[in-house]
């Protein structure tokens, strides 16, 4: 099935898509650069606000400023990577509404592959990922992590898991667009609202919200548990220790589920039409 030639062919195609999208962006150079800056600043604003309001108190539930920023950095790093790799999932609603998805069906290539590389938003990714990197490098030094090969690898796996969890959430909402015309609200509730909570250690929230963040929209595995792996704050005592290592598995599992929904959605699309 996936012969060496097949893999090479797909990688070439991917490289071509990247090149083409880049060229599109460079038609509007100034816009592209401004986009990175705007996304970077917009996301920084939220952090500046939290930074300033907490400056006088020192800590939340035993988390000091550097640790909170470390917690934040996982959100931006993984979301930046998600945009880099899966933009088409974020904007999928448009693909259906404009009928562009029909064109994908007419090409002898994998559908999901065509969707995720479509119109990649590289400059927003730079803004998000750049902020993540600044926060990560800035805070990782101050929280005193003793980097070893094992920890570096673990960090990479957690990030991969975090990217997959977000890809899965967006793939689920994309699949919903096969059934409903407007899915913007669903995404708002499932993703962007959960993301607002994820800026804080989940232990400060009521039990119900904690449960949602662990079992329903598992944002806790995007940043809280990965951060706890490195920081080991005492509030981890109230959760099962295994959660610390589970992010990659949660990501894979959720993405698998989302893939099933996607298949189901495509079948429905083909049989109901537009």
């Amino acid at each position: 099935m996936a012969s060496l030639d097949g893999i090479k062919d797909r990688l070439t195609l991917l490289a071509r898509y990247v090149r083409l999208t880049m060229k599109s962006w460079f038609q509007y150079r100034l816009d592209a650069v401004l986009r990175s800056g705007a996304v970077f600043l917009r996301e920084s604003a939220g952090i500046i606000v939290i930074y300033l309001s907490l400056r006088r108190f020192g800590d939340i539930n035993g988390w000091n400023m550097a640790e909170l920023l470390f917690l934040f950095s996982f959100i931006f790093l993984s979301y930046g990577l998600f945009i880099l790799l899966f933009t088409g999932l974020r904007d999928f609603e448009q693909l259906i509404q404009t009928g562009q998805f029909d064109r994908f069906l007419l090409r002898p290539r994998n559908l999901l592959g065509q969707v995720i590389v479509w119109d990649a938003d590289y400059f927003a990714a730079i803004g998000q990922g750049g902020l993540g990197l600044v926060l990560f490098i800035g805070s990782a030094a101050r929280v005193g992590i003793d980097w070893s090969i094992g920890k570096t690898l673990a960090c990479a796996c957690f990030l991969a898991g975090a990217v997959l969890i977000q890809a899965a959430i967006f793939l689920l909402t994309a699949s919903a667009s096969f059934f409903f015309v407007k899915t913007g609200n669903l995404r708002e509730i499932l993703y962007y609202n959960a993301r607002k909570f994820a800026g804080y250690p989940i232990s400060i929230f009521p039990k119900l919200i904690q449960a949602v963040m662990i079992y329903v929209v598992p944002f806790a595995f995007i940043n809280y548990f990965p951060s706890q792996y490195f920081l080991g704050r005492p509030d981890m005592a109230q959760y099962w220790r295994g959660f610390l290592y589970l992010s990659p598995l949660v990501g894979l599992g959720l993405f698998g589920l989302a893939l099933l929904a996607w298949r189901h959605g495509i079948n429905n699309y083909a049989s109901t039409g537009t």
């Binding site: 100034l30 604003a45 309001s53 907490l54 108190f57």
Partner: protein
């Protein structure tokens, strides 16, 4: 933890006022971009008045309505439930309203500058977003000014940002002596003037550019 909650609660009352005001002050930065994309800009150029003046005139009614519909209820709710202070005096209320008007003019001028950028970039989303970040963070909209570090405060005190929300609200709370009040109004007028003349200048440049490039 409790300490934070208290401060945040107290601050929220203050913010609600601002949010009511900022809803009333909501402006559309994308008017010009849409006109350029649809080609309607050509007919705007035929009219003998400046485009900015036209938008301001068209929006004046809506904004007056929004002030009543958004700001007043938010103020009432704040007074009743969050127990923020009522206006310190009738005079202070009057001054606050006057300076809110000036604050709006400044905000409008900035928005107009941003919308004019669509003559140079394809999508003004980025510039509009950057503008909103500065206004939200440094005008006292998201965090009270007294949370700012002293060096930052020293800088932003002289920017138009404090003139938009912070100064009118402070007048309402009656926090100032008269010298400071007059300085604040002076600053507002100064910035309104600067920003409006910048808008007029940029509009002339934009028109020239449009005429040269033929749309």
């Amino acid at each position: 933890m409790r300490g934070i909650v208290k401060v945040v609660e107290k601050a929220t009352g203050f913010f609600n006022n601002l949010l009511g005001l900022s809803n009333a002050f909501w402006l559309d930065d994308f008017i010009m971009m849409r006109k350029i994309r649809s080609g309607d800009i050509a007919t705007e150029l035929l009219k003998p008045v400046s485009f900015g003046g036209l938008v301001l005139a068209e929006n004046a009614g809506t904004i007056a309505f929004r002030l009543l519909a958004n700001f007043l209820p938010a103020l009432l709710v704040s007074l009743l439930y969050i127990r923020i202070l009522p206006p310190s005096s009738a005079l202070n209320l009057l001054l606050a309203v006057a300076s809110a008007g000036l604050g709006f003019l400044i905000l409008f001028g900035i928005s107009y500058l941003v919308s004019l950028a669509s003559f140079w970039v394809v999508n003004v989303w980025s510039i509009s977003t950057i503008k909103n970040v500065f206004i939200n963070v440094f005008s006292g909209l998201l965090i009270p000014m007294w949370f700012m570090p002293e060096p930052v405060l020293r800088v932003i005190r002289w920017t138009p940002l404090v003139s938009i929300y912070h100064f009118p609200i402070s007048l309402y709370l009656g926090a100032f002596e008269s010298a400071v009040v007059w300085r604040g109004f002076g600053l507002q007028l100064f910035w309104a003037l600067i920003i409006f003349s910048a808008g007029a200048g940029l509009w002339r440049k934009a028109v020239k550019r449009l005429v040269v490039q033929g749309g």
